[in-house]
C-alpha cells in the first residue's frame, strides 16, 4: 500500500555558539508509521525534536508537513499544523484534573456566556481519552493521584488533542524517552496505545535509548551520530548489533587523546565504593579508584552515573552502601566536607553550577581555595592575582585579564577557568562531569593534555565523558552503568582500548 508522506525534514543544520549540533540531517515520516530515532547523547536527537516542535529554529534546511512548507515560530504553530510533543520531563499540572490538563490553555473553547462549561469540557475529555484508548481514566480526577504510566498516557492524550484541533488531518506525535519511568508492563500498554494511534493514520517519532523497545515498536529506524545521519533502515531488517555499529563508528586518532601520555595507575586505592546506592537512582555500585588513574563511567542519561558522582563529591547523601576515601569510611553531607578530603567535582551544567558569572576570572579561580591565599589572616590580593595569572597562562585561557567578568568569556574558556579552580584547590580526586562539553576542539586537546599531566603527577580522576569516544580514549579503566546498575567493566590500556560497540551494548 502506497503510504503518503506526512512529514519531511531535509538537510537540517543547527549551530549555537560556534558548535554545530546538527550538520545536515534528514528525516521522513509516512502516515501511520512509527519512526524510531536513536543515537548517543549529543547526537542531535533532542535538538531535532525541538526544531520540529518549533521550540527553536533551524540554522538552515527545510521541513514539510502535510505537503506544505513548515517553519513553526513557536510550539503553538506546530500544534496547529498537527505536530505535538511529549517531553521527557512531565508537563502536567499536578493539582489540576485530567480534563483541565488536556484542555489547558484552550478553556475558552468551552466558554458560554462568559463562563466555562466544565461538563462540556469533561465530555470532550472523555472523547479524547477514548481516542488514545484510555477509557478507564476519569477525567475529573486530579493528576497528582495518578501513577506515572497513566500520566504518560494523559500527556499523549493532551498532545493528540492539541494537534487534532477539529480537522481530520493526520498528526505527528513526538515522544522523547517516553519509557524511562515505566516498567515492562506499562511499556507494553504504551505500545498498544501507540499502535492504535498509527492504525488511525497518525504517526509517531519515538526517541529512546532502549534499543530493544525501539526495535519492537518502530517500523523504521534512523540513527544519528555527531549531528549527522548515520543510516536508516527498516526494523524488519535491523537488529541490535547493526544498530550499535551505525551509532558508533569512526574512532578518533590516538593523538587527540594524547594516548602517548597515558600513564599507568599506581597501586594505592584512593577511593572505594562498596555497594553504594541512592534510592530511586542507582544501587549495588562497587568499584575502586587507584592513585594516578582515570576511571571512566559510561552510561546514558538516567543510568545513575550522574547521581553516583553527586554522592562521591558530597552533593547528596547515599541511602545504602559505603564510601571509603583513603581507607577511611566517609559520609559527606556537603561538598565542602568532601573538599576537605581532597574530592572536588567539575559539574556538568557549567552555566548553572560551574561558574559564577558575575565574578571575575580571578575570583572564580579562587573559589575553592580562598583559605590557601591567606597572609596574616587576610586574603592576599597579591597571592590571588599571582594564582590567577599563573593559571591563565598555563591553561592558555583567552581573557583580557584576571579582572574580566566570567560572563564575557567563551564557553571553552569558562570551562578552563573551572578547571583552573579545581586544580588550584589541590584536590587529589577530581570528578570530571562532561569536562569538554561545549568546548572547541583546540581547547579540548589542551584539556586532555592537562588531564594526562595531573594524573601522571598523582591525582586521580573519575571521568564522565562527553562522548563515549572520549571516555574510551582518556580512561585507564571503564565501567558501564545502565538503569542504575553496573553492567560491565573494561580495561582501557593505551594499547588495547575497547571498541565502542562493545561498550554501547552494555549501555542500552
Amino acid at each position: 500500500m502506497e503510504k503518503k508522506l506526512l512529514f519531511s525534514a531535509k538537510n537540517i543544520t543547527k549551530s549555537f555558539h560556534g558548535t554545530q549540533a546538527l550538520k545536515g540531517v534528514d528525516l521522513d515520516v509516512y502516515e501511520g508509521e512509527v519512526v524510531g530515532l536513536i543515537g548517543e547523547n549529543g547526537a542531535g536527537k533532542s535538538t531535532l525534536l525541538k526544531i520540529i516542535i518549533g521550540a527553536q529554529p533551524q540554522s538552515s534546511g527545510d521541513m514539510i508537513m502535510h505537503a506544505n512548507e513548515f517553519a513553526p515560530k513557536d510550539p503553538m504553530e506546530a500544534n496547529a499544523e498537527g505536530i505535538g510533543m511529549v517531553f521527557q520531563e512531565q508537563s502536567l499540572i499536578v493539582n489540576l484534573s485530567v480534563g483541565q490538563n488536556i484542555f489547558f490553555g484552550h478553556e475558552k473553547d468551552f466558554k458560554q456566556y462568559g463562563f466555562v462549561n466544565w461538563s462540556k469540557m469533561y465530555a470532550e475529555a472523555r472523547k479524547v481519552l477514548d481516542e488514545v484508548g484510555c477509557n478507564n481514566i476519569n477525567p475529573r480526577k486530579k493528576v497528582i493521584d495518578l501513577n506515572f504510566a497513566t500520566r504518560q498516557m494523559i500527556e499523549i492524550a493532551k498532545v493528540v488533542n492539541v494537534t487534532k484541533s477539529g480537522s481530520d488531518q493526520k498528526c505527528l506525535i513526538l515522544l522523547d524517552e517516553p519509557t524511562s519511568v515505566l516498567n515492562e508492563i506499562e511499556v507494553q500498554r504504551l505500545f498498544v496505545e501507540i499502535r492504535k494511534l498509527t492504525q488511525k493514520g497518525h504517526s509517531v517519532i519515538f526517541v529512546s535509548h532502549r534499543l530493544d523497545e525501539v526495535l519492537e515498536i518502530s517500523d523504521r529506524v534512523y540513527i544519528y551520530k555527531d549531528g549527522e545521519n548515520a543510516g536508516n533502515m527498516k526494523t524488519s531488517e535491523a537488529n541490535e548489533a547493526k544498530l550499535y555499529e551505525a551509532m558508533v563508528g569512526r574512532g578518533t586518532t590516538t593523538e587527540y587523546y594524547k594516548l602517548e601520555k597515558q600513564s599507568k595507575p599506581q597501586q594505592g586505592v584512593v577511593l572505594e565504593a562498596k555497594d553504594l546506592g541512592l534510592w530511586g537512582s542507582f544501587k549495588h555500585c562497587s568499584f575502586k579508584l587507584h592513585k594516578g588513574e582515570i576511571l571512566g563511567i559510561a552510561g546514558v542519561v538516567g543510568s545513575g552515573k550522574e547521581e553516583l558522582c553527586s554522592i562521591i563529591c558530597g552533593d547528596e547523601k547515599n541511602t545504602s552502601g559505603e564510601l571509603f576515601v583513603n581507607g577511611k569510611r566517609k559520609n559527606y553531607s556537603s561538598p565542602s566536607q568532601a573538599l576537605k578530603d581532597g574530592i572536588l567535582m567539575i559539574p556538568k551544567e557549567r552555566l548553572v553550577e560551574g561558574i559564577v558569572r558575575g565574578l571575575s576570572v580571578g575570583d572564580n579561580i579562587a573559589l575553592s581555595n580562598a583559605k590557601n591565599l591567606l597572609k596574616n589572616g587576610l586574603i592576599s590580593k597579591k597571592k590571588m592575582n599571582e594564582q590567577a595569572d599563573q593559571w591563565i597562562d598555563t591553561l592558555r585561557i583567552k581573557t583580557t585579564g584576571r579582572q574580566e567578568l566570567l560572563i564575557q568569556l567563551s564557553g571553552g574558556n569558562q570551562q578552563k577557568v573551572v578547571f583552573a579552580r579545581a586544580l588550584a584547590s589541590e584536590a587529589d580526586i577530581i570528578i570530571l562531569n562532561h569536562p569538554t562539553r561545549g568546548v572547541d576542539v583546540g581547547a579540548k586537546e589542551e584539556i586532555y593534555s592537562l588531564i594526562r599531566d595531573i594524573v601522571a603527577a598523582g591525582k586521580s580522576v573519575i571521568l564522565l565523558g562527553d562522548t563515549l569516544d572520549e571516555c574510551i580514549g582518556m580512561s585507564n579503566r571503564i565501567f558501564v552503568m545502565k538503569d542504575g546498575l553496573i553492567t560491565g567493566e573494561f580495561n582501557a590500556d593505551a594499547n588495547e582500548k575497547p571498541t565502542q560497540v562493545s561498550i554501547v551494548s552494555m549501555m542500552m
Partner: protein, 332 residues
C-alpha cells in the same frame, strides 16, 4: 562585534549603578537646600550626621544578608528587643554593681550575645529547615515584637545616676560625633571581612550562584548562619546606640528601622538578588536616607508623606538597579 556592543552596554549600566547613589544624594541635598536654606546649617548637619549612626550600624549588619540574596524583615524588631533589654539590664545590674562602667559594659555584652544568638537561631531555621528567609524573619519579627513588649511594656528612662555611662555618645570631633565614627569603622571592618576573607568571598559567591558555590566546596550553610549572627549583633549594637542617644528605651523604637535599613542598602547600590554590592557605598545610602528624613522634617513635610516618599524611592532605586537581562530565573 556583538561582544563589544555587549561590553559597552554593560559599562553604561555599570556606570549608572555605580554613580546612581552619589547622584541621588547630591540631588536631594540641592533640592532640600533650595526649598529651605536652613537645611545646610551647621547645627542641622551635625544633627543629621549623629542621627545616622544607629542606622549605619544596622545597615552594616544587613548588607551581608542582602548580598546573600536573602532578607531579614525582623531587624527592626530585634533592635527594639535590644533596646529595651540593654536598659532593663542596666537598671537591674546597677542595683548590685556600683561601677557604672562595668554596668554598661556587661549590659552591652549580654545584649549583644542575645542578638548573636537570635541571629544564629533564625539563620539555622532558615538554612537547615529550608524556610525562606523572608518568612522566617517575618515570623521572628512577631516573636521579637512580643519579646520586646514582655521585657518592657512602656518606654523607660535611663536613671540619672547612670548618665555617665552614655557620656561617650556625645563626644565629637568637629561636626562628626564619635558614634558616627564608630559606625563607619564598623562598616570598614565589614568591608575588609567581605573583601579579604574566605568568608566574605564566599558570601558574594553564594549570593551570585549558590549552587556553584556549594559545588565548589564553599561552606554555604555555615557562612549563611554566620551572616545572620553578625546581623543580629549589629541590630542589638544599633539598639544600644539608640538607647545612648535618647537615654531611654521603648519597645517599638526599632520597628521603623527595617524599611530605612533596606532603603539605605539598596540606595547604596546593593542588589536585592544578591552577589553584588559594595558595603562602603552603604554609607552613602545611609546618609541619603538620613537626608530624606531630616530634609523633609526641616522643610516641613508632613510625616506621613515620608512613608510615601520612602516607598517610592526604594521602588525607583530597585527598578533602575534590577537586572532585567536574559537571566531566565523566575522572580516570584
Amino acid at each position: 562585534m556583538l561582544k563589544n556592543q555587549a561590553k559597552t552596554k554593560l559599562n553604561f549600566r555599570e556606570n549608572l549603578q555605580r554613580y546612581f547613589c552619589f547622584a541621588v544624594l547630591l540631588l536631594l541635598v540641592i533640592a532640600f537646600t533650595i526649598m529651605e536654606p536652613r537645611f545646610l546649617n551647621a547645627a542641622n548637619i551635625v544633627n543629621l550626621l549623629s542621627d545616622s549612626a544607629p542606622l549605619m550600624i544596622m545597615a552594616a549588619g544587613m548588607t551581608p544578608i542582602l548580598l546573600l540574596g536573602s532578607i531579614d524583615l525582623s531587624i527592626g524588631a530585634m533592635c527594639s528587643v535590644g533596646n529595651v533589654l540593654v536598659l532593663t539590664l542596666m537598671m537591674n545590674l546597677a542595683n548590685t554593681i556600683s561601677n557604672p562602667a562595668i554596668v554598661i559594659l556587661l549590659s552591652i555584652i549580654l545584649t549583644a550575645m542575645v542578638g548573636i544568638l537570635s541571629g544564629i537561631i533564625m539563620g539555622t531555621i532558615h538554612v537547615k529547615l529550608k524556610v525562606p528567609s523572608f518568612i522566617a524573619s517575618l515570623a521572628f519579627m512577631s516573636i521579637f515584637q512580643s519579646a520586646a513588649l514582655l521585657i518592657s511594656r512602656a518606654p523607660q528612662a535611663l536613671p540619672k545616676k547612670l548618665y555617665s555611662t552614655v557620656k561617650w555618645y556625645s563626644i565629637h570631633f568637629g561636626p562628626i560625633g564619635l558614634p558616627l565614627i564608630l559606625a563607619m569603622l564598623l562598616i570598614v571592618v565589614f568591608y575588609i571581612i567581605l573583601t579579604y576573607t574566605p568568608f566574605g568571598k564566599g558570601i558574594y559567591a553564594i549570593g551570585a550562584n549558590e549552587r556553584a558555590a556549594r559545588i565548589a566546596g564553599i561552606k554555604v550553610d555555615k557562612y549563611k548562619i554566620i551572616a545572620f549572627a553578625m546581623n543580629g549583633f549589629c541590630a542589638t549594637l544599633g539598639a544600644v546606640f539608640l538607647m545612648a542617644k535618647s537615654k531611654s528605651s521603648a519597645p517599638t523604637v526599632g520597628d521603623a528601622f527595617t524599611l530605612m535599613v533596606i532603603s539605605a542598602i539598596v540606595l547604596g547600590g546593593t542588589s536585592l538578588i544578591g552577589g553584588a554590592g559594595n558595603i562602603l557605598k552603604t554609607i552613602i545610602g545611609v546618609f541619603t536616607v538620613a537626608i530624606i528624613k531630616n530634609g523633609m522634617t526641616t522643610v516641613g513635610v508632613n510625616v506621613y508623606w515620608q512613608k510615601v516618599v520612602y516607598g517610592v524611592i526604594i521602588l525607583i532605586a530597585i527598578a533602575i538597579a534590577a537586572d532585567r537581562s536574559s537571566r531566565s530565573f523566575v522572580v516570584k
